[in-house]
């Protein structure tokens, strides 16, 4: 799941060096996510993991995203 998520993060942030990301990386402060990238990541996660966002989730770190996916992913 982590590798699949990293792939989506890379798609949303094409200039990011994902090898420098880890579970504790903060999406905005460390990885440079802006609101458009967060939205792209959300849309990609809906397709890739079968989740559905009814409201914006407060993801601060990569670990927060992973925890959410572990609870909600259907794929």
């Amino acid at each position: 799941m982590y590798e699949r998520l990293l792939k989506l993060i890379q798609d949303a942030m094409p200039d990011m060096d994902v090898s420098k990301a880890n579970e504790n990386s903060k999406l905005v402060e460390d990885l440079g996510f802006d609101s458009l990238a967060l939205m792209m990541l959300s849309m990609s996660m809906e397709d890739e993991f079968g989740v559905h966002f009814e409201k914006p989730e407060k993801f601060e770190t990569v670990k927060d995203v992973l925890s959410y996916l572990e609870r909600n992913a259907s794929k």
């Binding site: 949303a12 990011m16 609101s35 990238a37 939205m39």
Partner: protein, 324 residues
Amino acid sequence: MKHTIIIDTLGSDNGPEAILDGAKAVLEKYPEVSLTIVGDEKIIKKHDLDFSRVKILHAPDTVTNYDNPMLSFYEGKVVSIFKGMEELSKGNAIGMITAGNSGAVLVGAVKYLLTPQRTRPCLAAIMPNTKGGYTALVDTGASIDVGVNQLHEFARLGRDFMKKLYKIDNPRIGLLSNGSEPTKGNKLVKEAHKVFAEDKELNFVGNIEGNKTLSGLCDVLVCDGFAGNQVLKNAEGMAVNLITEMVKYAKVNHEEEHIMPLIGYLMKTYDFESLGAGIVLGIKYPVIKCRGSCKKEAIATASNVLINLSEDKNIYDGIDDHRK
């Protein structure tokens, strides 16, 4: 009807009436066009339109400049921009025109109109250049902080856009910098210069300085969204200032008869409104983002652009270009 165009009536500085005036002009000018008008149904129905060619999508909510577009998406409001894009995503129209919040346009584009390649959308503005042609400025504000890969993507999207719309075989790509030499620029621009130069599929003509943006040295001028937004607004501001000064001079010196025709020419040439505003690149269907202050002429021009796009014509066929 041959074409359907979606028009979002909310979010403009001049209120829905200005956009609806534009919708009326479109219906009068293009008998083969039908419209899907999105916004407050009550306001739309009050307007003098040929409703036999109009479908109304009721979406009374808007995203203001003080709202977070992403939060607005999830708040349960019926936002006209999002409603229009949802309709567009079904393939029910040739494109959409909106003067609403730029951030909301991009959020909607990501939600409904992403390509299978998941390209991050960007905004292109078409600027008239002194060679009698047009230069696409990419990006004008969708991505403020970018890296080399993103700039490279802007170059490719801009190239494809100018190829398709202006029938330019091999559009010239320029990179905005503070000097024409490859060694000039910040770290990002210097890196981008190398990548652009190595890409054999790009007709890269090198760095373009800020004072040459309207010189027609390139067909696509690439920069990050922060710089692009400044270039665009600075050009507009400078055009307005020059014209204002000329009008003052003409009046004080009683030279109106000689100078006013020139002023009229300049106002037409640098009327950014009538050029159809910005176009969102990198998405499935075309979306034209008019300026918040746009008037009916901009809506008519944008419709013309969408029709030409769908018919694979040159983008400005049917628009009187007084420079030629």
